[in-house]
Symmetry: C2
Subunit: 384 residues, 2 copies
């Protein structure tokens, strides 16, 4: 495959690049360090100061012998995007190039406008450039399980058949997201669906749950090749945050009652899922949707698991219920389908004590770099 | 009411301004002449070269004694929008400020990017400025019946209760639009719904069908106060186009088989609907949706009605089926609900021979200004 990864410096973008490259595929990554810039601008630096793409590509070549191409630039500019597509002529496009933080998108007017414009323009540019340059290429787009919210009915895999007054129709499963960030992903799906119908593009939209972990086989324990690990309230996902809180000795910050339930997955499974989707592309004119997670947990369950794993290695962990800065149901029905990726061959890495303890130990070695100021929520949904 | 009309120079914006003003309300309109600029840039000038807002406001004051305030500027810029809201402190915001042409949005990459950015940014800015300056104000947003597309089930008024595997939930009626323009309106609805939930805004989203006509009572037959009348393939709505084609002696351009069915309304009814919605605002935290049309017709039925009305005054009209430049079902089930606005008191002006003949006569007097080059479709959905 000739793979173009949009957002190739991100938490998932860079590990994906190495994953495909190490399996013999030609990989080009594109990024403008936008996430890095806004995380620094909001005092939300990652735990490790990971190097720039040229350095990572060099390090990776040293240990693997493989070349990952990189292009630095802003994919929300169409002319740049078009130039990249013409240069690379990809057959597979993996689109991660979005502002990825829900709290950042709710921080203020500026951040809301930035998130909407970045995310929607990159998606539209990706669609238009694909149609113009490589109309048969397969777009793999990272969506989020958060697009669905927490409806009172079972969540199907992207689509639903609705029977209504004696007639029936197949629709996109109705979306109802809980942050502007998640809403931009809903809009992405709407946009993709319209253009798939109109241009006959082939698209896989992956509704992914929160990801945890940082270690992937391809990094071969070279920390320069690890992805950005965020533990702060803006860019840190909940499991990564809890483990850091355990290590640094502050209570785990459960927002509200903690009954919020989501589907989670290990970063290694993200890589497998994207790879499985790429190996079996969607058909022309198909918007294929998979729900990408391996198991569901409530926030309380996660906090309890982190407490237990910590206790096993002698760390005593407190759990603290904070006033929820978000607007979300704190106890709700949740039953999302997720069979598609398993049918493609996904062998999941489930969340167990061993995994948690490995993460806790790795972060313990970096404890001096953790800034406790970054842990408590700094953004409330109703303030803006 | 203190009314702020976004897009106040448009086909519906200016008549709405006069309608509210003549009923004793304080009206400010905002526009940057974007539609006028892009219609000129695409050789799609309106039939009459209507004057700028300052001139229209003067003419209107002369005949009515009422003042309509105007502010010229780009509402896709947040700082400008915020300044307008702070200056006006509206209690009612009517948002028409969008790129309104489906074919324009499908013309090329530039136009697609422009449409997405203009429409989404104005909507987001309107939401953020309302929340920041006048959180209790009522936003009336013009959506489109085209958001729903033509599903195989009855279209409800904005929302649907879905029973699924023994449980039930109320959702936004699933949208599936047929052009990028219509898709931006779907995205608007998604955005509005998210922020209504989050900020507790009060919003009425009007899913409007194609509008016809140009004469409204408030213009008092002063043609300088008429809205832009477009008969071209880009900005002209179908009834306005057909009447012009009848007058100029070219065949009525039916796209494809002509079974495409939509809900239509007279421009006078648009004004009543918006006024009725404004007088009975949505509740705090409510996204109220009305389907805004008075009757449904297929394109073939409309062509036949225009042919009959023309025949009555001695004009012989041909009908021509063109290869459809759009991607749409040409014969389909269509049963949309539209009771909400009638319950608020709408007294519709239905489409009859008399109305058609009045329009035909008025346009006949302008026949010299009609440019036949603008009539045939210049944009195909699958080209871009």
């Amino acid at each position: 495959m000739k793979v173009l990864i949009l957002g190739g410096d991100g938490y998932l973008g860079w590990p994906t690049a190495m994953y495909f490259s190490s399996r013999g595929h030609e990989v080009t990554v594109v990024d403008n360090y936008y996430r890095k810039i806004i995380s620094e601008a909001t005092s939300s630096e990652a735990l490790l100061d990971t190097p720039s793409l040229p350095v990572k590509a060099k390090e990776y070549k040293k240990i693997s012998g493989n070349i990952i191409n990189y292009i630095i630039g802003d994919l929300s500019e169409y002319n740049f995007t078009l130039r990249v597509f013409k240069e690379v002529i990809p057959d597979t496009i993996i689109h991660y190039a979005e502002q990825p933080s829900a709290p950042y998108s709710m921080r203020g007017e500026k951040e809301a406008i930035e998130t909407l414009n970045n995310n929607l323009n990159v998606t539209l540019n990706c669609i238009l450039a694909t149609n113009s340059v490589v109309p048969n290429a397969h777009i793999i787009k990272l969506g989020t399980m958060g697009e669905y919210g927490t409806p009172n009915i079972e969540i199907e895999e992207g689509w639903i058949n609705i029977e209504h007054k004696g007639r029936s129709e197949k629709f996109l499963f109705p979306r109802a997201a809980g942050s502007l960030y998640h809403t931009t992903k809903v809009l992405d799906t709407d946009l993709l669906w319209f253009y798939v119908k109109t241009f006959g593009l082939r698209v896989t939209d992956l509704m992914q749950g929160p990801v945890y972990g940082f270690e992937t086989d391809e990094a071969m324990s070279n920390e320069k090749l690890y992805p950005h690990f965020h533990y702060d309230d803006l860019f840190g996902t909940v499991i990564n945050r809890f483990i850091t809180q355990a290590v640094v000795g502050v209570p785990l910050t459960v927002y509200g009652k903690g009954g919020q339930t989501r589907g989670y997955l290990n970063i290694k499974d993200t890589l497998s899922c994207v790879y499985l989707a790429a190996k079996a592309p969607a058909n022309k004119g198909e918007l294929r949707i998979f729900n990408q997670f391996t198991e569901t947990f409530s926030v309380n369950e996660l906090a309890e698991m982190v407490r237990e794993a910590s206790a096993e290695i002698g760390i005593n962990v407190q759990i603290q219920n904070l006033v929820n800065p978000r607007k979300e149901a704190e106890s709700h029905f949740y039953k999302p389908a997720h069979t598609g990726l398993f049918e493609l061959g996904l062998k999941p890495h489930l969340l167990d004590n061993k995994t948690l303890i490995q993460m806790i130990k790795w972060i313990s070695a970096k404890v001096d770099y953790i800034d406790k100021q970054k842990i408590l929520p700094r953004t409330a949904w109703n303030k803006l």
